[in-house]
Symmetry: C2
Subunit: 233 residues, 2 copies
């Protein structure tokens, strides 16, 4: 069976996309090793066969699946004998809720902090596109976002609180072992360390940092195998 | 088997505490009907037998359980043949995460909106205590909180987004049927309608309003059996 994951690539072979890390880690959780096909921001035509323009796209033999949540559900349903990503029907429903919290809470808070750094490591071909779309999203220049970094870090702090509290009482979001909700949250931190040389976590974030360390070690250090700012975490 | 739930009471027999509603709805989900013992803010001695001072406290024969999460886990573990509150081990882990999101996200955003209204319906004996503790918590007078209501409602809007998105795609947070994560979120709305005659949801919040309506109808309209501002939802 041939497995291919189309994912975002930036300069120096960086793989910053949190959506693509969700898929990478979900595949690893299921014991699957895909071939990776890098796609620049301006190469949407490479995944046009999937009927849409975004990554990740998973090709599994005859099956083509886009959207990270669809990919997670596809893997859970088609590889039922491998470890579960959700831990049962209640787990699937609330993993979806956690996904929406990551998308609309955590990621939204990280976006203005990381966007200027992602621009700096974007493929040179992609930088104009990236600057235009991100400046439109936040209604200010990337330079203005950098100048307000401290403000955005302060706004991130309360957003992290549910995760901080959970990881103070449990080694993983999903309990004693990591599962998809951990990958959802960790993918955001992997995005951060892929693009930014300054850690988004303060030194005193003991529980979050210990969890991030464990997540980096998973699957023989899969998240450490790509170009990133190791100084950032 | 005698079941007793100690819960907060305010004037006109109102039962606003979201923590107590979590326990009320969890008991109903398990098909259990407790006797309710009302406790004013200043009557902590009534639950001193539980080794702490807060409600809810559940007494089930010889067992005494305090803290809403402990009560939910107690019910799940001791009434395994009744419908599950969590939907499996993955569900339990992420229900806990959802609990922390409600505590530190949703409830934190609602607090300054609802506190002045709760003061108005608190038992007359409790009002001085309530004003003192809440004004200390937010560092401003209850009157200042009222004056800034629009600011706090604006801050609530993005906090609701994960819930809004989830309920736009699914009838309940937990999927096709409600479970404990629904009770966690709904208990905050029940708190709101117990104390405030102005709806915290805008008319265009279709998905959230439809879900709230379904939650009010559950268990023969359990949440409608207490004094509340029906005009508010």
């Amino acid at each position: 069976m041939s497995l291919i994951l189309y994912e975002r690539v930036c300069s120096d072979d960086r793989r910053p996309s949190p959506y693509c890390w969700r898929a990478r880690l979900a595949l690893a959780h299921k014991g699957l090793t895909p071939a990776y096909r890098p796609v620049k921001f301006t190469e949407a035509d490479l995944v046009a066969f999937s009927g849409q323009s975004k990554v990740p796209v998973l090709v599994d033999g005859e099956s083509v699946v886009s959207d990270s949540w669809n990919i997670a559900c596809y893997l859970e349903d088609n590889y039922p004998d491998a470890p579960s990503l959700f831990g049962g029907p209640g787990g699937r429903a609330l993993t979806r809720f956690t996904n929406l919290w990551v998308d609309h809470g955590l990621q939204k808070a990280l976006g203005p902090i990381l966007a200027p750094y992602l621009h700096a490591v974007a493929d040179p071909d992609d930088r104009d596109y990236y600057r235009r779309t991100r400046e439109a999203r936040w209604g200010q220049s990337l330079e203005q976002l950098v100048a307000r970094r401290a403000v955005y870090l302060e706004a991130l702090d309360p957003v992290l609180e549910p995760l901080r509290q959970r990881l103070a009482e449990s080694p993983f979001v999903c309990g004693e072992r990591p599962a998809y909700a951990d990958y959802l949250a960790f993918a955001e931190f992997q995005w951060a360390r892929s693009v930014c040389d300054q850690d988004i976590l303060a030194p005193e974030e003991t529980a979050l940092r210990a969890w991030r360390h464990c997540m980096l070690d998973l699957f023989d250090g899969l998240a450490r195998t790509v170009t990133a700012f190791d100084s950032a975490c």
